[in-house]
Amino acid sequence: MSGAQGSSRGAHRPGEVVDRNRTITFMFNGKKYKGLVGDTIISALTANGVKIVSRSWKYHRRRGVMSGNYHDPNCHFQVNDEPNVRGAHRRLEEGMVVSTQNVSPSLKFDVGAVNQKLSRFLTAGFYYKTFIKPERLWPTYEKVLQRFAGGGKVAATGHHVPADKRYAHPDVLVAGGGPSGMSAALSAADAGSSVLLVEEEYELGGFLRWGTGDELAVAQSLREKVAAHPKITTLTNAVVAGRYDQNWVSVIERGLPVVMESLIKVRTATLIAAPGLIERPYVFEGNDLPGVMLSTAVLRLVNLYAVKPGERAVVFTGNDSGIAAAEALRAVGVDVVQVVDARHGGGLVRATSSRGVLSGVEFSDGSKVLCDLLVVAAGWTAPTTLLNLSGNHPVFDEAGARFVPGPDLDDTVFATGGLVGDGTIDEILAHGAAVGRQASERARNGSVTTVAPAFSPDPHLPLFFGTTKGIVDFSEDVSSKDLLAAAHEGYDSVELLKRYTTATMGPAQGKLETINTVAVLASANGESIEETGTTVWRPPYVPITLGALAGRSYEPVRYSPMQAWHESHGGINIVAGQWMRPEHYGDAAKEVSTVRSGVGIIDVTPLGKFELKGNDVSKLLNLVYVNKWSKLEVGAVRYGVMCGEDGVIFDDGVTGHLSEDRYFMSTTSSGAAGVYAHLESWLQTGFPEWDVTITNVTSAYASINIAGPQSRELLSKLVSDVDLSNEAFPYMNLRTGTIAGVPGCHMWRIGFTGELSFEIHVPAGFGAYVWETLMEHGADFGITPFGLEAQRIMRLEKGHFIVGQDTDGVTQGFSAGIDWLIKLDKDDFIGKPELQWQHDSGAGFRLVGIHPNDPKQVPTEASQIVMDGTIQGRITSSRFSPTLNRSICLGLVVPALAVAGTVVPIRLPNGTIIQGTVMEHHASYDHEGAKLRG
């Protein structure tokens, strides 16, 4: 590199997009450079004379600009802490720190380049063949291979980048904002359709942007019409990434403020694919040398950025694009020393190098020309991705030497532009306009009457590979030699060849290399390209950040009305399903002993709560619970367990009878939504004739459990219209009354903790008030608030199981020790046949109380009980009980071990085995329930 910064910037170009008055300073591999506003990273580097911009993934070969567009596999950079940035697309910003990926220690001297010397050993399938045995070394191989992989580095300490997504519902979505796409968008919009026009580049115009004066004028005129049209929404620097059933289309927007990328989920009535054409590389020896560029890369660099990509150029072309590139180069003062037009004969043999960059070209007539730029225009690939995703199979157009859309196109998907054919600008615009009208007709009234003019590829030379071997897949360093060797080994179908050699599987995903891969294979097999066929394109069309796919998290967090109190009184939160609730207020064991000896209150608002109304509620209860409900009197509550049709327990809770046709059901905190769906399912699909209405009142009530020997005394201070005495309001009953002046509160005498307790459900708006009033009046009793942990300890002391903790996805009713509850003499209930069979066979684990023989040992939950080398059970819940001053557990064990007094070996996660004894009851505390009933 020599001369002043930006010296290879040529004379002004009519279509140039850089602002020569505004410079940008950036860093590349530790060195400071200057570019212009409007530059891409690559145009700025090229303007600074930087020719080697990266090293290839596998052989670490020096690489320069090749296709010069988003897909260029040689132009991936680390930018600040963002890896894999597409340097030929990303615009330069002030202060950008750009570095080459996949080099060690530097781009100039890269030790990985030793792979190049080993390349004859690193042939196709090398990894498969080499890193197979011994299996125990796989983790080591993985680590080594990962270091050789080419991607950038994700900063582990990087800041969290938020993501977002949104929806759109246009009539017509046009993918591609070139002349055909703009023309289609305008005619669809003129026909009355709402149109979403999506363009991958920063500006509409497609290939017209790097065209001649006339072409620029057409582009400008179309752009103005599009911008002025009220029915067209245009997105630039956005890309259609995929198309799914019924035109569900994913669009990725880039370059937005704050977010890195944003996903738009588009449901469009019709889709027009107008992606244009992608120029394909030509395969010959030296085709990946820095200095060998495709004609469109040169046209972009020269005509958009006024950059001179070299000083002395040779052009090898099979079409007019190469001629246009030669003209553009001359206009900025590049010496074009030779143009070889393959249409008039002449072939390219090899490119030669000096110091790792292009130094000359050899032609088939034996002539050698010195140059630092070789422009190649070999032909085009039609990216039929969106059509493939719509079920269309591309067919090979032999005359045009490219794959084109097949005839079996979905009737809501259309194609125009280079995807379909070649023509003059007028012909392209006419086809686009006709297709736009068709798409609008289909979107708006269903039948298509417009006829599109004939449009097909112009004849083109089949320029895929020359007489020498070269790189086919630049992303993966797969050469035509590798492909031929693989075909020779028997991988002679295109799908097998692709997987074996990894050709087309790199970041370019086949856009540049598929056609050449197929052509090489066809020659190896001695068959036509049509016979060989092509691989299937899959979404996404371009890589998408995971953040864009994830979008913003819409997971709601739920709080009880008392949460602010908890947080200001030392409550330590725990995430419990959707709810945030206090785990404890500093000392769970102390909370337990206070409840056991005095009184405490816990916020149980997350309990699922439903009001059931109608004449047939008891029928529904009999159906969904395993026990009987017909005789539940008004004012009484009952515990129930719900099983699925497979007999597996899925929820439990207490339901009370409020009045003749009104019931109040409570469910587990995490089960509320599932229970609601379950009940509705049976009502809607099974028994639509039943008169039952279910109202979810989970958050309409704040729920508080007042527990402890002094709970009645406390509550009676605040309740005057309900007699709380044991005689008037016995265990397992409910009353509705006024608490602290708040009417309409439900009071239930139930107890999960094992103490005398009242569960109260008060209108949510009064929750915090009632809570504070209870705390105030409880001060004389030494009241404590208690959290989930104290409740879990006390319920374990009492032996109550928790669905999902002490049961799992296969725990049937009789495994949970609720034999007394399951009424097999009921006519029918959900899961009855399976429960009957379990009852008869005695199969399945059994839930038992287990006391570790060493009372200080608390085995970790999920510790296995292993005997004779097989799992015979496991600990499902374990805690140290402050009340009993020992460790206590519940566990599921095989029936043979579910006998009181059996000693079982419990294997802790660290391998230590401790002994535990199976107890007679689940409850370790007040098995008789005297305290509850007091």
Binding site: K265, T685, E689, T693
Partner: protein
């Protein structure tokens, strides 16, 4: 993501629905054999072609609906709401 025409809400993305599975007749619990019952629980016909299935509009009107869907093309031929339409909720 396919569109499902909800009888209450119109065409909505399938992500709003919970798939309840193929419609199957529940055997008589009193007389069903294990084979019949487990066929009901676990075995799906999973045809290549038209199938009748239930969807729950869990993120919408919370109604269950029956749809006839072609498993290869995802075309939905008809949907109908089920009898129970809830109450005042």
């Amino acid at each position: 993501m396919i569109l499902i025409p909800c009888p209450n809400c119109g065409p909505r993305n399938s992500s709003e629905f919970t798939y309840e599975g193929e419609n199957k007749e529940r055997p008589n619990a009193a007389t069903a054999t294990k084979a019949q019952w487990r066929n009901y629980l676990y075995l799906k016909n999973n045809p290549l072609g038209w199938t009748t299935e239930t969807w729950y509009h869990s993120s919408g009107c919370k109604k269950f609906l029956v749809a006839e869907r072609h498993t290869m093309t995802n075309e939905i031929r008809s949907t109908k709401a089920l009898g129970h339409q809830g109450g005042a909720s």
